[in-house]
C-alpha cells in the first residue's frame, strides 16, 4: 500500500529524514517509535505534503501512485489520513460543516456522488458514537475549546467519517489519560483494522500499543529506521530505553 524508499527530507534546509525506507501492506499495523528529534513528526508531515517539508531524495508511492507528486488534498482523496499531534482550531467553522465539505470534496475527486446532509449526519452520529463523543460537540467549531483529549478523540471521529485506506497517526496518544487512551485505541481498531486498510502509528511510548497491537515495530533514530521487529521490540524499548536498544 505504502512504499517509502530512501526518503530524504529537509525542514528549513536542515536535513531531518536521511534515507528512510519502509513498506506497509494492506491489513498491517506498523508502529514507529523513536526519541525526540528522530524525525517522527517530519515523516508524518512529509507524507501528508505539508508546505515547508521538502523532499530532497528518494520516493514514496501510495497504491502504486507517486505520493510526493500529489497536493495534500489529493493525498486525502486518494485515501491517506493524517492524525495530527496538535489538531488545529478553526474558529467559526463547525465540525459538521467542515467534515461534510471535506468528505464531499474527497468523493467528488473520486468521481462519487456527494452525501446528502441527512446521510452525512447519520454517518457522523455513528462514528461519534464509536468514540463516545456527543453530537453536540460536532456542531461546535473545529477543535475550539476542546481539551487535549477531546481533540484526539475528534481526530478519530474525523478518521471514521473520512474512512481512509491508510492512517498515519502522529502521537495520537499524547495528552490522553488511561480511559481516553482505551477509547481512542478501540476506535482505531474499529475503524482501521481491516484487510484492505493499514495504519502507521507514530508514538513515543509503548502504552498505546497495549490497545492497538502492531504487527511491526520500527525504531527511528536520526532520520532513519535503525531497527525493525515485532511487538516485542516496543516492550524492550519500554524496559531498556532508546539508547540501549539502538546500541544493541
Amino acid at each position: 500500500m505504502l512504499k517509502i524508499e530512501n526518503l530524504h527530507a529537509t525542514v528549513a534546509d536542515k536535513p531531518i529524514l536521511k534515507g528512510l525506507s519502509l513498506t506497509i501492506n494492506a491489513g498491517e499495523i506498523h508502529a514507529i517509535m523513536g526519541p525526540n528529534g528522530a524525525g517522527k513528526s517530519t515523516l508524518a508531515y512529509t507524507l501528508g505534503g505539508r508546505p515547508g517539508y521538502e523532499v530532497t531524495g528518494g520516493s514514496a508511492t501510495f497504491e502504486g501512485a507517486d505520493l510526493l507528486d500529489m497536493e495534500p488534498h489529493e493525498r486525502a482523496a486518494a485515501g491517506l489520513f493524517l492524525g495530527f499531534q496538535y489538531p488545529v482550531e478553526i474558529p467559526g467553522v463547525s465540525n459538521v460543516q467542515f467534515l461534510r465539505e471535506a468528505l464531499n470534496s474527497q468523493r467528488k475527486a473520486r468521481g462519487e456522488e456527494p452525501l446528502s446532509a441527512a446521510d452525512f449526519l447519520r454517518l457522523a452520529r455513528e462514528k461519534a458514537g464509536l468514540l463516545g463523543m456527543d453530537m453536540e460537540m460536532l456542531k461546535r467549531p473545529v477543535n475550539v475549546g476542546f481539551s487535549g483529549g477531546e481533540k484526539k478523540r475528534a481526530e478519530m471521529v474525523q478518521m471514521g467519517i473520512l474512512d481512509p485506506k491508510l492512517a498515519i497517526l502522529d502521537e495520537t496518544d499524547s495528552g490522553l489519560d488511561i480511559d481516553a487512551l482505551k477509547t481512542v485505541g478501540a476506535g482505531i481498531n474499529a475503524i482501521m483494522r481491516a484487510p484492505d486498510k493499514a495504519v502507521l502509528l507514530i508514538t513515543h511510548y509503548q502504552r498505546l500499543l497495549d490497545y492497538v497491537q502492531p504487527d511491526f515495530v520500527h525504531i527511528l533514530a536520526d532520520g532513519r529506521i535503525v531497527r525493525s521487529g515485532g511487538p516485542e521490540l516496543a516492550l524492550a524499548l519500554e524496559r531498556e530505553g532508546y539508547a540501549e536498544v539502538i546500541a544493541a
Binding site: P51, I90, A102, S105
Partner: protein, 249 residues
C-alpha cells in the same frame, strides 16, 4: 448634488488613505442621507454597497434620548467605495454598527465613522471586519468624541483585517477625543493573514485550497449579519458576501 463640498485631497485627514483620483471622477457627491431616530425609538439600517463605479455614501444620524440605531453594512463595490457615518448620540442613546469590507483588484473600500457621545449614558459598539486581496486597500477611520459631561459613556470599536496578498493593504485609524472622566472607551485593531496551519489541516482532510480559503474567510466575517431581523435582507447580504469571497479566492 452638493456643489459646496470641495474636492478632497489626501491632506485631508479623513481622506488620507483614500483614492482621491477615483473620487475626483465622480465629484461632486450626493448630499448625506439624513436619519433622525426619535427618542425611545429603535431603528435598523442595512446598507449593501455594491456599486459598479466609485461611490461615496455619507450618512448623518441623530439619535434621540434612549433611542437606538443598529446598522449592518456590507461594503464591496466600486473602485472607491466609501461609506461614512456621522452620528450624534443623546442621553442613553445607542449606535451599533457591524460592517464587512471585502475588496479585491485595485479597489479602495472605506468606512469612516464619527460617533459623538454628546450626553451621559450613551453607548456605541462598532465591529468591523475587512478582507483585502490583490492590490485592494481597506480603511477604517473611527473617531469617537465624548463631550464634556457625557459621563458613563460606553464606546467600543473592534477592527480586524485579513490580507490575502502581499500587495493588499489595510489601514486602521482609531481616534478618541474624551472630555469626560467617567467613561469606558475600548478599541482594538489587528491585521493578519490566513492561518497556514489551518489551511494545511483542512487540505489534509481533502478540502481543495480554494475551498479551504473560502471557508476560513466566511468564518472570519461569520456572525456579523446573524442578528439581522429581515431574513430576506440577511440572505441577500450573505449571498453577496459569499460570491465576493469566491471572486477574491
Amino acid at each position: 448634488m452638493n456643489a459646496a463640498l470641495p474636492l478632497p485631497t489626501r491632506k485631508d485627514e479623513a481622506w488620507r488613505y483614500s483614492d482621491v483620483e477615483a473620487a475626483a471622477r465622480i465629484w461632486s457627491v450626493d448630499e448625506p442621507k439624513r436619519l433622525v431616530v426619535a427618542p425611545g425609538e429603535a431603528l435598523t439600517l442595512a446598507v449593501l454597497q455594491d456599486a459598479g463605479a466609485a461611490l461615496v455614501l455619507d450618512h448623518v444620524v441623530e439619535i434621540g434620548a434612549g433611542g437606538s440605531l443598529d446598522v449592518h453594512l456590507l461594503n464591496l463595490g466600486g473602485t472607491l467605495g466609501r461609506v461614512t457615518f456621522d452620528v450624534a448620540l443623546a442621553q442613553g442613546a445607542h449606535f451599533g454598527l457591524k460592517a464587512a469590507l471585502l475588496g479585491g483588484e485595485a479597489q479602495t473600500l472605506e468606512l469612516v465613522t464619527t460617533v459623538r457621545h454628546k450626553a451621559p449614558d450613551a453607548t456605541s459598539d462598532q465591529l468591523v471586519r475587512a478582507i483585502a486581496a490583490g492590490r485592494a486597500t481597506t480603511n477604517y477611520l473611527g473617531q469617537i468624541q465624548v463631550a464634556r459631561g457625557a459621563q458613563k459613556t460606553d464606546a467600543a470599536q473592534s477592527f480586524k483585517a485579513m490580507l490575502l496578498d502581499r500587495t493588499a493593504a489595510a489601514n486602521a485609524k482609531p481616534e478618541l477625543e474624551i472630555f469626560a472622566d467617567d467613561v469606558k472607551c475600548a478599541h482594538g485593531a489587528s491585521v493578519g493573514e490566513l492561518d497556514k496551519a489551518a489551511l494545511f489541516y483542512m487540505a489534509s482532510r481533502g478540502l481543495p485550497p480554494a475551498r479551504a480559503k473560502a471557508l476560513l474567510l466566511e468564518a472570519f466575517i461569520a456572525g456579523l449579519f446573524d442578528d439581522m431581523g429581515d431574513e430576506a435582507e440577511r440572505a441577500r447580504f450573505l449571498d453577496a458576501a459569499r460570491s465576493k469571497l469566491e471572486a477574491l479566492g
